[in-house]
Amino acid sequence: MLEIKLPGLDLKNPIIPASGCFGFGREYAELYDLSVLGGIAIKSATLEKRYGNPTPRIAETPEGMLNAIGLQNPGVDAIIANELPWLATFDTQIIANVAGASEEEYIEVIKRLNANETVKAYELNISCPNVKHGGIGLGTDPTLAANITRMAKEVATKPVYVKLSPNVSNIVEIAKAVEAAGADGLVLINTLLGMRFDLHTGKPILANLTGGLSGPAIKPIALRMVYQVYKEVKIPIIGVGGICSAEDVLEFLYAGASAVQVGMYNFVDPYICPKIIEDLPKTLKKYGIKNIQEAIGRSHHE
């Protein structure tokens, strides 16, 4: 009822913790068996170790939060050596989120991950708003987005999903460009660029000044973008943005997502993913849906 097959990913259910909100799973593995998850989008990998941005990196917002972590990670080699062998002990599909400061860096990270059997698919992060180079710079221009996708596809031995930025005037244009460049799937959406200010100092709260907005506040925007893109592309879409219940998942499926990622709500309730997985069959039943497949893109059907 919950299973779904996507390029490279054989998901037992459509629930995947989103990259950056779940580390490499170690903290959550202390709380529950990660094998219940459909998959895990692990923390972004860059070629070298990155410390990320200065603190404060976090600010709360109405129904959401801003973050400006800045892709802190131990570097792809350390991830291959220390994190992936441990993740391989769980019965879940690992998606490696790939980031870089230049096109060449993305390609090198992919080359190093190619030989690793635990990674089932790549998620190209061309939408991180918190790094000065690469990241969002590639994700807001259809030509650059298509170019990095093409380069990634040339070297990747696993399917490539491209995670798009919502900070664009025309999401469909970018999605189509990425599809034409050979992407196997899309992940919609990354965070929206935002700010908050300290009332005492008058300065931005985040040391990076701006950060990425996530949480329920962005759910309607994510749903709208999934809906618009679904109409125009043939490749599957993984929906992400403010999901915190099985009902939210259903909305994303109706809009056109084939699976979903759960992001910031893991911080509010660390058990949210297993809870949603448990609730999903009841929720599908309640709305007369026999299986996930039937719900995907339902809003577009006659």
Partner: protein, 249 residues
């Protein structure tokens, strides 16, 4: 760590903008001195990390300052209200059995976690010096509570409205306190001064957190020596050995 529904036994104002809340969990977990709990406040997204001041038979106590909307809401809750609380979280202040005396240095709302440290050392009969720093007379709390434990308590205020005028370091100098093992929690500038003046002991840090369990990398700090090394304040911290963390004010 677990998530539990803890009942508010009392929630009262004890100083300017400062509240003391006693909570009763279904079963009291082992909470070590310096650890914190992460509290869900209705209508807010992120949990509020607040250190535990005292652990008793079947209750524990937190002391918090109203600094924004979340803590404001907390301050309005009354007896019997149930809170969704994650914890206990983070590292703790180690309690040693071979010391003759310890010095606790607390600033403002950083004072609370030191209370449980004082309690445990006093139970061992060890001499405990407590130096407290507050902005002014109206912000002072727990001075008598420390005294009741049998601690030697010295208080300073920045505006001089009570005790020694100046910082906790001024207060230590004025009273010629020579104890060299310190436990400290308070504003970053105070921790920086303590870190500069002492070689032995522990500091507890505060940070803006998201997950509170080490997953999001929101609250990291750097190692003082090895700039490549970092710690998560919520996971490896909030308590660190003196001299371990790079303090950036």
């Amino acid at each position: 760590m677990k998530i539990s529904n803890d009942k508010i036994i009392s929630n009262e104002k004890i100083a300017n903008d400062t509240y003391k809340m006693v909570l009763q969990p279904e079963t009291i977990p082992i909470i070590l001195p310096g650890q914190f709990v992460n509290i869900k406040v209705d209508g807010n997204m992120l949990r509020r990390p607040i250190s535990v001041a005292s652990v008793d038979q079947n209750t524990y106590t937190i002391i918090y300052k109203v600094v924004g909307v979340g803590t404001k809401k907390l301050s309005k809750l009354s007896k019997g209200h149930i809170l969704d609380i994650m914890g206990p979280l983070g590292s703790s202040f180690p309690i040693h059995e071979t010391l003759d005396e310890v010095l606790l240095i607390g600033g403002g709302v950083g004072v609370p976690p030191l209370y449980e440290v004082a309690k445990q050392y006093r139970q061992q009969g060890i001499e405990v010096y407590v130096v407290l720093g507050f902005n002014d007379k109206d912000a002072i709390f727990y001075e008598d509570d420390f005294k009741q434990l049998g601690c030697k308590v010295y208080t300073s205020t920045m505006d001089g409205s009570y005790g020694i005028k100046g910082t906790v370091m001024d207060c230590i100098k004025e009273h010629n306190i020579t104890c060299d093992t310190v436990y400290s929690c308070g504003p970053l500038r105070m921790l920086e001064a303590v870190d500069k003046n002492y070689k032995k002991g522990y500091l507890s840090f505060e940070a803006r957190m998201a997950c509170g369990i080490g997953a999001c990398m929101g609250c990291v700090c750097k190692d003082k020596e090895d700039k490549e090394m970092y710690y998560r304040i919520c996971k490896e911290g909030p308590v660190f050995e003196i001299g371990k963390v790079e303090i950036v004010c």
